[in-house]
Amino acid sequence: MTIVIGFEGSANKIGVGIIQDGKVLSNPRRTYITPPGQGFLPSDTARHHRSCVLEVLHEALEEAKIQPKDIDCVAYTKGPGMGAPLVSVAIVARTVAQLWKKPLLGVNHCIGHIEMGRLITGAENPTVLYVSGGNTQVISYSEHRYRIFGETIDIAVGNCLDRFARVLKIPNDPSPGYNIEQMAKKGKKFVELPYTVKGMDVSFSGILSYIEDMAHKMLSSGECTPEDLCFSLQETLFAMLVEITERAMAHCGSQEVLIVGGVGCNVRLQEMMEIMCKERSAKLFATDERFCIDNGAMIAQAGWEMFRSGHMTPLEDSWITQRYRTDEVEVTWRD
C-alpha cells in the first residue's frame, strides 16, 4: 500500500489531493477568481495560494481520514507554470516533507494530467490531447517518453479563450471557458474566423487578434451577437484541435483518444471528438471538471507512479521551473 499526497498550484488553482493505490481519498481545491476583463497576475495569485494552502491541506487530510504518518511521499508541481505561485506551493510541500520526514518528489504538471486521465478512464495507450490555459499539445507514448506530435506554435487554446472573454468582459466565475461554453449554446450565426493548421501543429494568435480587432465593430453594427461570437470561436478552435488529434492518430496508428486539461471538460469539444472517433471506429476517453481542471490528486497520481518506480527528489534539487516540457521526463513506470 502506497499513499501519496500531491500539491498543485501552477496557475490560478490551488489543490491538495491524496491517492492510495489508484483510489482518490480526497481532492479539495480553491480557485483565484479575478473581476471580468482581468487576467490573474503571478504575485496576486501566489498571495491567494499562500492564504489558503494550509486550510486546503487540512481539508485534504481530514476528508481522507489519514494522519501524516500514513503518507509515503509528498509530491508537488515542479513546473511548468507561473513562477511565484509554483514557489508558494513548493515551499509548503518542502516544509511538510521535512516535518513529517517523508521523501519529496517534483512532478511535471502535464504528466500529472496524463496519468490522472489514464487512471480515471482506464485508457490503455491513448493519443492524448492536452488542452489548458497554458498548453496545447497532442501527445503519444513510445519508448519511455510522452512524445509531442503536435502543439500550438504560439498561444494555448485556453489562453485564447480567456483573452477573448476579457475582450467581451465575460465573467471569470467559475471560469471564462465555462461561461463561453454556456453562451455558445445560444449562438446561431457562424462567423468565419481564421483557421490555421500546420500538419499536427496549430496557431491561435491570428484568431485572437482578428477578434480583438473586429469584435466591437461587429457587435455594435448588429452583425452578430456576443453569443454568436462565442459559438463561432468554439466551433473554429475545436475543429482545429480535433483535426490535429485525428492527424496524429492516423500517423501513429492509434485507436484511442484521451482529452485532459482544463479546456477538456468542455462538452462541445468532447462531442466533436466523439464524432471524429466514431468515423474511424476509435474510442474517446474524457473526464469531468473534478479531474480535468488542475487539482492535487493528479500530482499525487503521477507522484505515485514515479515513487513506485524509484524516483525521489533530494531537498537541494527541489526547485521549480516555469518551462518544463512533457517530453523531458523519462517515463520509467511504463513499458
Binding site: 496557475a11 490560478n12 513546473g79 511548468p80 507554470g81 507561473m82 489548458s132 490555459g133 497554458g134 498548453n135 503519444s140 513510445s142 519508448e143 517518453r145 512524445r147 509531442i148 506530435f149 503536435g150 502543439e151 500550438t152 506554435i153 504560439d154 494555448a156 485556453g158 489562453n159 480567456d162 457562424f190 468565419e192 483557421y195 493548421v197 500546420k198 500538419g199 499536427m200 501543429d201 466551433e235 473554429t236 475543429a239 480535433v242 483535426e243 485525428e246 492527424r247 492518430m249 492516423a250 500517423h251 501513429c252 462531442e271 466533436m272 471528438m273 464524432i275 471524429m276 468515423e279 474511424r280 516555469q322 518551462r323 518544463y324 517530453d327
Partner: protein, 234 residues
Amino acid sequence: MECQAESDSRQRTREYLAGLKLLKQGAEARVYQGKFLGKAAVVKERFPKTYRHPALEEKLTHRRTAQEGRAILRCRKAGIPAPVIYFVDYVTNCIYMEDIEGSVTVRDYIMTAQKNGRNLHDLAEKIGKILARMHDEDVIHGDLTTSNMLLRPPHQDLDLVLIDFGLSFISALPEDKGVDLYVLEKAFLSTHPNTEEIFSALLKSYSASSKKSSPVIKKLDEVRLRGRKRSMIG
C-alpha cells in the same frame, strides 16, 4: 438546393467506391484502391467531417482537394516525384491518382530499418534533396511527416514519392519554408526516437541542394527558439 446532376454524380461515386478496396483511413481521407480507365489507381475521398460546422466543412474540404491537385501538378512539372493525377471530382471531393503499387511509407521503412540496424543516411539525404527542390519551386507542403512520403519498390532503391498535399500552398517566404521544416523535424523526431543525427543529415543535404537555403535555415532556428521560449503559463 443541389442540382440533379450533382446528386447523380454523388450517387455514381458512392456506387463506384463501394466496389473498391479500402486501403487506408488516413488523417482526413479514405484511400481506396482499384482501376481507373484500366490503370492501377487510388481514390482519395475527403468525406464530409460531420464534427465541424457545415460552413467550415465545405470550405476546408473543397480548398484542400483543390490545393492537393494543384500542388501535385506543380511538383510534377518541376520534376519532383508525386503521383500522377488522373481526375479530380469537386462534387464529391475525390482525387483519382496513380497507385504507387507495392510502396511503403517512409515511416514504416524507417521503423523496420531501425529494428534491423540498417543505415538511414542515404534516405535522409534523399529526403533533404527532394524537399529542397520542392521549396525552390515555392511549394510549401504543409504536412510533412514520414507517413506522407512513399518509397516505390524495390524499397532499398530509395525511389521517393511525396503525397498528401492537402495543406500545401505556394509561398516564397523563408518563414513558411522554415515552418515546413520545423513541422517535419518535430514529427520525425517524435515518431522515430533517437534519430537526431539522421535528421541533421537530412537538413545538411537540404542546405547543400537548395539555392535559397540559408535564410530558410535561419528561420528554422528562429521558430525552434520561439517554441522553446513559449510561455506555458495559465
